[in-house]
Symmetry: C2
Subunit: 495 residues, 2 copies
């Protein structure tokens, strides 16, 4: 498969193309660079010395060669679509137009010496007007208000096949499906996060309700919006409700579907990596109430969960890595895929789609194994709290995301147990190195009094006056137990 | 077993005693009347001609005889507790003091010519002061702010054994237990209706939350009160939550327990007859939202449901009968206990406790059979909508209670189907006579346009423009089917 990026100069074809090629595991080809390399001279010089016509001939020749190659991502020259034959060729390919208003384009290109800009600012507007109609014959992605990752995700979604592998989860079918998100377009009753709606708007049904994602939204005020939406749409108990978003949206929609008219069928599209790994299995949902996180909620199984790794490509740096930490935790607990994860870590950080799909499939399978042994979370499932005891200190005191805090907490807990001799120094080093590669480990020292107070209030503390707390520890990958430790001792590793 | 009612003149011993005796299936004995009968003269004359001492002797003789009889409810003379020996005897019996402030007493007795009141208003206050301490040696029921039925219920609760029969319901244990309500006293986390709290205050734990009952309370504002109560009490997932009240309270508490911390164990004490018959089986709960009844809710099975017929004795006239209509509907659908119900109807109207217990046991068993065949209410269970199609017109248009409306609706639906020849004229007559005995059938003619509009909006209408509706009909007791009928035809029987 080949992907051709087209668009004006400055629309980001090269930058996006390079990221896209590592995401899609394809070779990246910049046509301008390729021509320069073949001719041993710069594009400007070809224009000056041999004229634009000669450049266009070289460009067409190269294009004709490229369509006989496979597994490439190509950044084309801005003028490639001027030629009718070129356009014909590109229409038979995965060609995506990176769309950007000319004012934005001008801002981007003025810093560089580009041949077509010699004529000054007006030229870019003139060229844009000339080429606009030709570009718009191609599928496009609007890039002006998007991050690079969002653009990469939007392009990848366009070309993703939507093929899916259905896992035999113990509770309900879970599909791992790159491009599977597009099927949301056929769903009339959908609640989606505003973020997902913005990036993937072309697949979001116009009847969908979009809501805020994030902790603030996760309460009854948003639930009531969802209920009102369902009432307005006259949703009956045989209609399906769809949720698409991060943990907040899937929790809200999960709760709404379980309680609207005493339960309507539900399809979940978790769209953050954390939600895909963490929330997609087990049917847990939750709402915050009066400042208490998840104090309201229940268990409700979706009819189907669709995990599309392409959606997660759009995530901000940091948020994406939270999901990797969660997955790593699962592999550490089960011991399965642990070594593989460590090897793939670099590729996963680059969001390589094949690695991501494989990793997600493994994480979901293993999360399911843990959860199915303890569906109502009375015992075993608590091992998923790994890293949470100290993580719960970093989260408020260092004001970092939950995922980051858990990563730091996990590193410190392992450090503590290695110091006690409960676990191998080498295992601790391994875990620490991997976490460092995923999120970095520049954690601060915590203020001792606040940390102690928080630790005392931890719900795992044997009693509120107790000097001990019971926490899970992985002794070897795949082998864990729960140990009682003294609060004071544990505290020493974070202050 | 014997019950002795003690208390000042005017405290209602005779009236309450008479009702109580029919409730408890015992002979009623009014000691004053008994003495008058034996002597062939009135108490006043005995006082005048033979003196109070002689009367007290006769009274003590009678008391000594009565404690050798069984199955009696006795209304004692007001002064019986003046004698030490009498008090000793009564302390070994079920003796209940009907307590009332002297001002209320005076108001009640001034209309009658009673011997001790010849001295005027002051005397009653003086007598009350003299006897107060003696009365207060006995268990008492405060009657001044209570209806007769509430007093009867409170007395019956005191003497009820709390023995229970556990039914093998398909989903969870249901106990039929006269006096079983008293066990709520051992439950630290309880939500009770204000009404029940007022009448049975001596058994309500001080830690309980009391909330309003009734449709107005059945929404998120009350749910939030319950959540806050549970958070204040630090309820954990291993603690039990208890609900005690009518359908509103059991629905609210059912929903709260199913959604607090993803589900806590629940014990339900439905306290209205309708809730005992209707809501106690099947785990349904519901909340109103934005004017839509029960649009939010789910299915959640209690660990146990305790059905105490004694609590229902306290119900207002009319409200009690709603429960009888619901039970009758169930017997009509299943055909079981249908004939027995018709025979017992008079006793049930009198709230005879034995009949009520037996009827409740049968209704619960049969409701369970219907529900267990269709737990998520997709088909069969809809037969419970019998009478609801036309009932839903009477409820808003005649502003009567749901139970009354369903009774009228059922009568009219049967009338309609008898007219069509779908059911036997005799079956219709039977049903009509029974409903007439339970609630009366003085239904008004409905305004044709409003009735048609409501009927068209019925969720059972095949589509909103449809001229047809599908409704359940019982062709013979125990034999039902669903029939499509024309809206216009059906309407003719109510306008």
């Amino acid at each position: 498969m080949r992907v051709f990026l087209i668009g004006m100069m400055g629309s980001g074809k090269s930058t996006i193309g390079r990221i896209l090629s590592s995401v899609l595991d394809k070779e990246f080809i910049d046509m301008d660079l390729e021509i320069e390399k073949a001719k041993g001279t710069s594009i400007s010089e070809i224009f000056e010395k041999e004229g634009e016509e000669e450049f266009r001939r070289l460009e067409k020749d190269l294009l004709k060669k490229l369509v006989h190659r496979d597994e490439i991502v190509v950044s084309t020259g801005g003028g490639i679509i001027l030629d009718k034959e070129n356009r014909q060729i590109l229409k038979g390919e995965n060609a995506v137009y990176l769309r950007l208003p000319p004012a934005d384009l001008y801002r981007r290109v003025t810093v560089k010496g580009r041949p077509l800009l010699k004529e000054g600012k007006e030229s870019i507007f003139r060229i844009w007007e000339e080429r606009r109609e030709l570009y718009e014959q191609f599928p496009s992605v609007e890039t002006s208000s998007q991050s690079q990752w969002e653009t990469v995700a939007a392009i990848s979604m366009k070309i993703a096949s939507g093929e899916s592998r259905v896992l035999n989860s113990s509770s309900h079918p879970v599909s791992i499906s790159p491009g599977g998100f597009k099927s949301i377009g056929r769903m009339p009753n959908a609640v989606v996060s505003r973020r997902v709606e913005r990036i993937f708007s072309e697949w979001i049904p116009s009847s969908a309700l979009s809501i805020d994602d994030g902790e603030e939204a996760k309460g009854f005020h948003t639930l009531f919006q969802v209920y009102e939406y369902l009432m307005d749409r006259g949703l009956s108990r045989s209609d399906v409700l769809v949720g698409a978003g991060g943990g907040t949206v899937t929790d809200l929609v999960g709760f709404a579907s379980s309680t609207f008219k005493r339960g309507v069928p539900l399809i979940q599209y978790p769209t953050t990596l954390l939600a895909q790994v963490d929330a997609s299995i087990g049917g847990k949902n939750g709402l915050n109430f009066k400042g208490c996180k998840n104090v309201v909620g229940n268990f409700y199984m979706p009819s189907e969960t669709i995990i599309d790794p392409v959606v997660t490509l759009s995530m901000d740096e940091g948020r994406f890595e939270e999901g990797l930490v969660e997955a790593f935790k699962i592999f550490l607990i089960t011991g399965q895929y642990y070594e593989k994860f460590k090897k793939l870590c670099g590729k996963l950080k680059e969001r390589n789609l094949a690695a991501l799909s494989e990793m997600l499939e493994e994480a979901v399978k293993q999360k399911d194994r843990i959860v199915s042994m303890d569906i109502r979370e009375t015992g075993l499932r608590k091992v998923l709290n790994l890293g949470h005891t100290l993580g719960h200190l970093y989260e408020p005191l260092s004001r970092v995301s939950h995922g980051m805090a858990v990563a730091w907490g996990l590193e410190r807990e392992m450090h503590y147990f290695a110091g006690l001799g409960v676990i191998d120094e080498q295992l601790y080093r391994d875990v620490s190195d991997t976490l460092s590669e995923i999120v970095g480990l520049d954690f601060p020292q915590l203020p001792v009094e606040e940390a102690l107070r928080l630790l005392r209030n931890d719900k795992k503390a044997v009693d509120s006056e107790s000097a001990e707390i019971e926490i899970p520890v992985v002794k070897r990958p795949g082998e864990f137990e729960f140990l009682k430790v003294r609060l004071d001792d544990l505290l020493a590793v974070v202050v």
